[in-house]
Structures are given as structure tokens and as C-alpha cells.
């Protein structure tokens, strides 16, 4: 397949399958299989794209054959291709988990088409080479996520989706303003073109102001301090499959966008932005983990950990060295898998105990030993205990901070790691280790069992974590190459703009 086909296929597949799914009769199995096959295809295309980019360098395609910077550009460097691959894998995991956990009536409805639209939006955001299109893809993704959040229409979900929607839309307004202002100043929105035009611009102050708009908008999407409050207000209400999808993909698009614009477009004021990002990252880590320590609802606790891990990513971006960007990419991949594993397991424990409240759980270690193991590995990995993937990812962040002689970030990262371990152990103690509470309501007529196929996706995620931990070297090499591309945008610009300056 030509690179242009590979670049456009993830988007065409997802949106086409979403539309086809909506046209299918209202039965569970055709929609389920369509979604499964599409996600598999996206993962395969992502892998092919990654191989192509690794072998032949950055790939770009102009939709409709209109040359950049006028047309719609799709472009994949190593980071984009890697993220598309991970998106496909996560889509596959979440769809198979949904098939095992959701009632058939939900599956027969608009659920899978919406998941496909969301994944299509995420792929579009990772692959686009144009800021306005990035905005559009983020909106596509958010639009699907609003509906997914409120699909069951329970009261708490509607409350959550009102908070989530109003704050997300506020972020979108800021983003749109930023895009408009930037177009007014630079006269182009093509990322590669911007990276050529902006260094020679005669309005540096205005550009700094615009870059702050982007920082605020994407930090809100990423869930960074002090704009994270929409996340713990909403992520604990939808079914576990949906929470997993959100936690794996939505905030990561914000982080990806930050990484993209502050390495490719706004590189001139790196002192200012990197200070801001470092402060933001440090505070995000600390507030996230402190919020988590106080929680006794399993999913709320895990939601706060999303925030604290986002802090590591933003701090790594703030350091802006090759080592730090390598750490960022490795951490991003590790953390998508680790967090998803934990959310999937939290859904599985809730199927057994019928609650997310840690006070009311207990004894799962004896009744569900396999589930306990599947929690233990990602929990340790998230906290950064060797030999799992989290150890190498966190080590890379801390090393990068030490090398940049930024003791504050390095110290914060270590302390937050310990606090993460503490709150993971809290879940372990409460849900798996302690004796069940005395007054637990006994429901003899409702057998508490997991059901078929729930553990499969959890096992896959855990396996990834062990593989990425024991065999960390290939991932680190890939991340290092991707970081090299981020720091030297010449190849990216050349691929998009062709021979022209």
C-alpha cells in the first residue's frame, strides 16, 4: 500500500465502520464484530505505518492532491505512527471488554458506532498536519465522548456529562480563539509551514500570547493542573469499558498536541514555556496523587492517578531534552496500558462485588486469585516498581530531570512515585487483602461471578506491561528515535512541504 493510503486508512476505516454500524440492524453481534474487525484493521494499519516510517522516514500525504500548505495534510512521524498503533490496540481491547461486560441491548444500540467515531477522531488528531484539522478531530472525539458518557442516562451520568461538556467546550472555545489568532498572525495553519514561518515573524510578543492560548486549551484537554477538575468529576460514572477508553485516549491527545506544538511550532520562547510546563507538571503530579490518596471509591482514585501521571508527561515535555522526550514517549505508551489495565480490573472487581467502594470490598485475593494478580502487576507498574514497564519509564523521566539538574522535578517525581505506590497498596489492602466487611449484604440468589471473557483484555494489558518491562530496550530505542524526530523538525517539514522552502 502507498503511504498516502496507509495514512488515510485509519480514519476512513473508523468513520466508515461507524456509519455502516448505524445502518446495520439493531442486533448485538453484527455491530460487535464490525467494531472488532475495524479495530483490528486499525491496529494492523498502525503497525504497517510504524514500520514504513521507521524504514523510510516521515510520511506525508495531501488529501485530494492539493499541495501543502493549502490542502489537508496527513503526516506521520514515529510518534504519530506509534500512537495510532496503540490506539488500535486499545480500541480492540475496549471493544472485546465491552462485548464481555455490556448488556446486549446496549451493544445493539449506538454504542459501537460511537466508539468507532471516537477512535476515528483520535487517529485523525494524531495524524493531521494542520492545526485547524486538529481542532476538528478533537471535536469529533469529544462529541462522541459526550454521548458515550451519557448513554445510559442515569442521573449521576447526566450530572457528570454536564460538567464535562461545559468545561470541554470552554477549552474548545479557547482553542478555536488560539487557532484564529495564529492564522491572523502567521497566515497559515499547516504545522510544517508554521514551523518555517514563525521563527521569522516580526510579532514575537503576539505569538507568545497565542502560544499561551494553546497551552491553556491543550492543558485543559490533557487534564493538567489547574484545569483538571472536569476529569474526576466525570470519569467514574460511565461503564468501565468507556472509562478505560477515555483514560487511554482522550487526555493523551491533549498531551500529544502539547508535545507537537511546543516542539514544532512555538520553539522560540522555549525558556518561558518550559518553565511554565515544569511548574504545571510538578503541581499536576502532586495534586493528582494527593487527590487519589484521599479517595475511597476505586474509580475516583484511579481517575486522580490519571492526573498525577499526566504531570510526569508534562514535566518531561518541560525539560525538552532528547532524554526527556524519550522518557515522555516511553512513559506515554506504558501509562496507556497500565492505566487501562487498572480500569479494566476495577470493572471486573465491581462485577464480583457490585460496588466500587473500597470499604465494602474485601477478600478478593482468596475468591479471585487471578484477578488479584492482574491488579497487582499493573499497580506495581504504575507505581514504578521493577521489572515492569513503569519502572523504566519513570526512571527515564527522573534521569532526564537529574541530567537537566532540575532537582525539584526529580524529587517530586520520586515522592509522587512513592505516594502512588501507597495508594495502590491501599486498593490492594482494602479490596483484595482484608476480610470482607461484617455487614456485607448476602445475595444468595445472585451468584457473584465474573462472566466469560472479562479477564482476557486485562490479561492482554498485563502481558504488554511485562513485555515492555522485561524487553524495554526496543521501546526505548523507538522512543529515542521518535524524540530525535521531534527535536529536529527538518525531516517533518521536508516530508510535508516537499522541496519548497
Amino acid at each position: 500500500m502507498t503511504p498516502a493510503t496507509l495514512l488515510s486508512l485509519p480514519i476512513i476505516l473508523c468513520l466508515g465502520a461507524a456509519a455502516a454500524g448505524q445502518l446495520l440492524p439493531s442486533r448485538a453481534w453484527p455491530k460487535r464484530w464490525l467494531a472488532l474487525m475495524t479495530m483490528l484493521a486499525v491496529a494492523v494499519v498502525g503497525a504497517m505505518l510504524l514500520v514504513t516510517v521507521r524504514r523510510e522516514g516521515v510520511q506525508a500525504a495531501q488529501m485530494g492532491g492539493w499541495a501543502a500548505p493549502f490542502g489537508i495534510t496527513l503526516v506521520a512521524d514515529l510518534l504519530s505512527a506509534l500512537l495510532v498503533l496503540v490506539t488500535g490496540v486499545m480500541g480492540l481491547t475496549v471493544v472485546s471488554y465491552s462485548a464481555a461486560t455490556l448488556p446486549a441491548s446496549r451493544e445493539a444500540g449506538a454504542y459501537y458506532p460511537l466508539v468507532l467515531v471516537l477512535v476515528g477522531g483520535v487517529c485523525g488528531a494524531f495524524l493531521t498536519g494542520d492545526l485547524f484539522n486538529l481542532f476538528v478531530w478533537i471535536e469529533v472525539m469529544l462529541g462522541a465522548s459526550f454521548v458515550l458518557l451519557a448513554l445510559e442516562a442515569r442521573q449521576e451520568q447526566l450530572e457528570a456529562s454536564i460538567k464535562y461538556m461545559s468545561l470541554s467546550l470552554m477549552g474548545s472555545v479557547v482553542l478555536l480563539c488560539a487557532v484564529g489568532l495564529l492564522y491572523g498572525v502567521a497566515g497559515t495553519l499547516n504545522l510544517a509551514d508554521l514551523s518555517v514561518v514563525i521563527p521569522g515573524s516580526d510579532q514575537p510578543r503576539l505569538l507568545t500570547a497565542v502560544s499561551m492560548f494553546f497551552l491553556v486549551a491543550f492543558a485543559l484537554k490533557a487534564g493538567a493542573f489547574p484545569l483538571f477538575f472536569w476529569l474526576p468529576a466525570s470519569y467514574h460514572t460511565p461503564p468501565a469499558a468507556v472509562t478505560t477508553l477515555f483514560s487511554a485516549l482522550l487526555t493523551k491527545v491533549g498531551v500529544y498536541a502539547l508535545a507537537r506544538i511546543f516542539t514544532l511550532v512555538f520553539t522560540r520562547d522555549s525558556e518561558l514555556t518550559s518553565t511554565l510546563l515544569l511548574v504545571m507538571g510538578g503541581l499536576t503530579m502532586v495534586t493528582g496523587v494527593l487527590g487519589a490518596v484521599a479517595q475511597y471509591d476505586m474509580r475516583r482514585l484511579l481517575s486522580f492517578h490519571i492526573i498525577s501521571q499526566i504531570g510526569y508527561l508534562i514535566a518531561a515535555l518541560g525539560l525538552l531534552t532528547r532524554g526527556a522526550l524519550t522518557a515522555l514517549i516511553a512513559f506515554l505508551i506504558h501509562y496507556i496500558f497500565a492505566k487501562s489495565a487498572l480500569f479494566l480490573v476495577s470493572g471486573a472487581t465491581a462485577r464480583v462485588t457490585r460496588t466500587y467502594d473500597l470499604h465494602q470490598m474485601g477478600n478478593l485475593y482468596r475468591t479471585q486469585p487471578l484477578l488479584a494478580a492482574l491488579f497487582f502487576v499493573p499497580a506495581l507498574s504504575l507505581a514504578g516498581v521493577p521489572p515492569f514497564s513503569g519502572f523504566f519509564a519513570k526512571l527515564a523521566v527522573i534521569q532526564a530531570a537529574l541530567r537537566a539538574e532540575n532537582w525539584a522535578i526529580a524529587g517530586t517525581a520520586v515522592v509522587v512515585g512513592l505516594l502512588t505506590l501507597f495508594s495502590m497498596m491501599k486498593i490492594w489492602r482494602e479490596a483484595f487483602w482484608k476480610a470482607p466487611p461484617e455487614n456485607q449484604p448476602q445475595e444468595p440468589n445472585r451468584p457473584l461471578s465474573l462472566g466469560d471473557g472479562v479477564l482476557g483484555p486485562c490479561m492482554a494489558m498485563t502481558a504488554f506491561m511485562v513485555v515492555l518491562g522485561v524487553g524495554a530496550q526496543p521501546l526505548m530505542e523507538l522512543a529515542d528515535a521518535a524524540a530525535g524526530q521531534l527535536l529536529d523538525p527538518g525531516e517533518y517539514v521536508q516530508a510535508v512541504m516537499g522541496g519548497r522552502p
Binding site: T5, I12, G16, A19, S26, G64
Partner: protein, 147 residues
């Protein structure tokens, strides 16, 4: 008492609005207009029916479920980009041909027109899903989400 003026106007205006929407959609390739505006204009025709005769009547006149219409439109629009890809060019590249007409010169047809048809259907379907949804509040988000 039935609102005679409203009913009469709605009945008379519906074909006019639909015709204008088609004109807008077709002329849109070279002059202002296009599938998006055309689709919105068509939605106003059905919205007017809803105001005059109520939601069930408007839904019945649309015949197809609105989200299915939107999905079909999306498929058509995506499909218009595929032939170029099969021919080895980039997705959505336009392919033009001449359609000979017996009574005059040949007509220029191509994939961008198919794209506009898709956009027209998608916009009409989406707008009607919203409008019918406001009319009652249920039953329009998905053809089958009644769990």
C-alpha cells in the same frame, strides 16, 4: 380550531424549500452553496412540517430514520474518495468525466458531486435528529437505543 394559515403555508412551502435546497446543493460547486447549506435548507422544510403538523407527521414525511440518513450520507461522502485511492492517487482526489446528453452539450460529472450528495444527506440527517429530538426528547439519538 386548526391554524389554517400555518397549515396552508407549510404545505405550499415544503416543495419550494426542498427545490431551493437542491438548487443550492447543485450550484455549490462553482458559486456559493453546496451540500452543507443545501442539507440545512432541506431540514428547514421538515422543521416547518413539524411546527405545523407536529413531530410524528414530520418524522413520517422524512421516511428514513434521521441518524440512518446521516450514516448513509457519511458513507457516500467517504465513498466518493475511494475511487481515486484505487487509482493510486490520494484519498478524495477528484475524478471528472463527461456525461453526454442527448439534447445539449455533455454534462461535467465527478466525485466531488458525490461528496456533496453525501454531505447533503449527512447534514439533513443530523439536523433532523436534533430537531426531532427537541420535539419530543426521545427516540432520535439512535434508531434502537431503547434499552
Amino acid at each position: 380550531m386548526s391554524p389554517v394559515v400555518m397549515h396552508t403555508v407549510a404545505r405550499m412551502m415544503a416543495p419550494v424549500l426542498l427545490l431551493v435546497s437542491l438548487v443550492l446543493a447543485v450550484r455549490g460547486h462553482d458559486i456559493p452553496g453546496g451540500g452543507f447549506v443545501g442539507g440545512l435548507m432541506a431540514a428547514t422544510a421538515f422543521a416547518l412540517q413539524m411546527v405545523a403538523f407536529g413531530r410524528p407527521a414530520a418524522r413520517k414525511q422524512l421516511r428514513v430514520h434521521p441518524t440512518r440518513l446521516a450514516a448513509a450520507g457519511l458513507l457516500v461522502a467517504l465513498g466518493s474518495g475511494i475511487p481515486a485511492m484505487l487509482g493510486g492517487r490520494e484519498f478524495l482526489s477528484s475524478i471528472w468525466g463527461q456525461l453526454p446528453l442527448p439534447w445539449s452539450d455533455s454534462l461535467k460529472v465527478g466525485t466531488p458531486q458525490l461528496f456533496d450528495v453525501g454531505v447533503y444527506l449527512a447534514v439533513l440527517g443530523t439536523a433532523m435528529a436534533f430537531i426531532l429530538g427537541m420535539g419530543r426528547g426521545e427516540d432520535t439519538t439512535a434508531p434502537d437505543s431503547r434499552a
